[in-house]
Symmetry: C2
Subunit: 258 residues, 2 copies
DNA sequence: TCTAGGGGTCCCGAGAAATGGAACGAGGTT
DNA sequence: AACCTCGTTCCATTTCTCGGGACCCCTAGA
């Protein structure tokens, strides 16, 4: 087992363990001798990957990771332009907006900001969620082949949320609808009380896909207004496609020179 | 040289290198053999700390760091409460707000969100800045001894911004003013055209200090309004101190039991 | 068409680092 | 005082990492 793989195993294990964790928890969680865990955590703290509270002897993620984390996909022209457009959309509408990426069968929030309406839930960048139980995820899945979607969702994950698709067949129906409409909606699925509309697009240079969303309280936004918000998002997407292109447009000649 | 220290050296070097970087740049930047750089980058990508674009052979920070980065100081009750209060303040006033921490002679943004006024500059979490050239940094420095401040600012850093203190003496004056007022202001210092007001406080449990700020366009907010914003921030701080305490209040008995 | 140069990859012997069982320290509880 | 839990340190042994050198691929220029 290389030093690097041990360190990354600890970092992966530490995801979701806010605010801190101890030597024994790491040893137990990773089935690792306590002396190994103690030594690795101490080394990682010394190097700045972690911080250690001397009073409690507990560890937490280090500031270096805060600095690097915000850098993920930063500087990519399409990502920055999309984010700027979504910040404008929040100003214009008062609703929370953001960008999500697909990772396996989950989504990870890349950028987000709260709206000015009293929506309680803010999903900060770095947060994971079930891709099948929100519109951003289904939009991203819609860009994959049916076979690949089936592969990722067998066995089908359990989630006790009545509005979320509860079988692969239901998920495929929702995805088909997203493909047909060009956008998707969710309401009280992964996030209770939260509704959203979203669109997906890809960077023509790299093929990296992302989903742009507007989130709002399901109780306070009627059907008509949701359609208006979807249209605003489609307009944002159209402007970005006009400026950067879309993967679908250049997919064929992508590998060929020229 | 341990494997861990090499990996962290690469991660530190990678800060600020958006959107990506190559093997040769790392080897040159860290004075490292190309074979070493190539092997380390490949291993780091395999483990998810980095991602590699097969087409360009260039590397970038990995999604794992996005997930861990947002976790920094997350789950700490005071940080979460302060952030929620600042989100409310953005809703209420329309101005950008956030939290910054001190690291040596620099500040690092922990949380931030844009306002709804047309302020162009948004400083995302993870961004570094000169502590002496903005109000958040001076507030945090105000909590240190004069000797410690002098130590951190000798030699005094150069920064070509006319409104920023350009000597240790000027910095100490500004810090003295922040101590007297309980808040500080900046205008067109580290960030051109950007003004801010901020207050600082510390977690009584851990002693960790943080600065809360409101940022706005220097052109569009008059002196009266700035004082109102400072009062709002002081109110937020007072509410947090009432709820959590402040380090100054419990500093003496901190090490003693009880 | 050929050559040179830049960027990057892979191999593997030598040397350095990492592992983890055992012993131990500190603090809390009975 | 004895016991338990959490965490630390030591060091013999094992495993891993380093990086020079050879090599590959691609592009530009003669």
């Amino acid at each position: 087992m290389s030093a690097l793989s041990n360190v990354v195993a600890i970092l992966r294990w530490a995801r979701g363990r806010e605010p801190d964790f101890g030597v024994g928890e790491v040893a137990l969680g990773l089935d690792m001798p306590k002396s190994t865990a103690s030594r690795l955590l101490k080394d990682m703290a010394r190097q700045g990957l972690l911080e250690r509270d001397a009073a409690t002897q507990r560890y937490r993620v280090g500031m270096l990771l805060l600095e690097l984390g915000r850098q993920y996909r930063a500087g990519q022209p399409l990502v920055e332009a999309a984010d700027a457009a979504l910040i404008d959309l929040t100003r214009q509408t008062g609703y929370a907006t953001g960008i999500s990426l697909l990772d396996g069968s989950e989504i990870v929030v890349l950028r987000s900001r709260p709206g000015t309406h009293p929506l309680q839930v803010v999903t900060p960048p770095g947060t994971r969620g079930p891709a099948w139980a929100n519109s951003t995820g289904r939009n991203l899945l819609a860009r994959l082949s049916d076979a690949e979607i089936a592969r990722r969702f067998t066995p089908y994950p359990a989630l006790d949320r009545s509005n979320a698709p509860s079988s692969l067949a239901q998920l495929m129906e929702r995805i088909a609808r997203a493909r047909a409409l060009g956008y998707d909606e969710s309401d009280d699925e992964a996030l209770p009380g939260v509704a959203a509309v979203s669109v997906a697009m890809a960077d023509p240079q790299s093929g990296d896909a992302m989903s742009l969303y507007i989130a709002f309280s399901g109780l306070h936004v009627n059907r008509q207004r949701r359609r208006e918000l979807a249209t605003l998002l489609l307009d944002v997407k159209a402007a970005l496609v006009a400026r950067f292109g879309d993967e679908a447009v250049v997919a064929a000649p992508r590998r060929a020179h020229g």
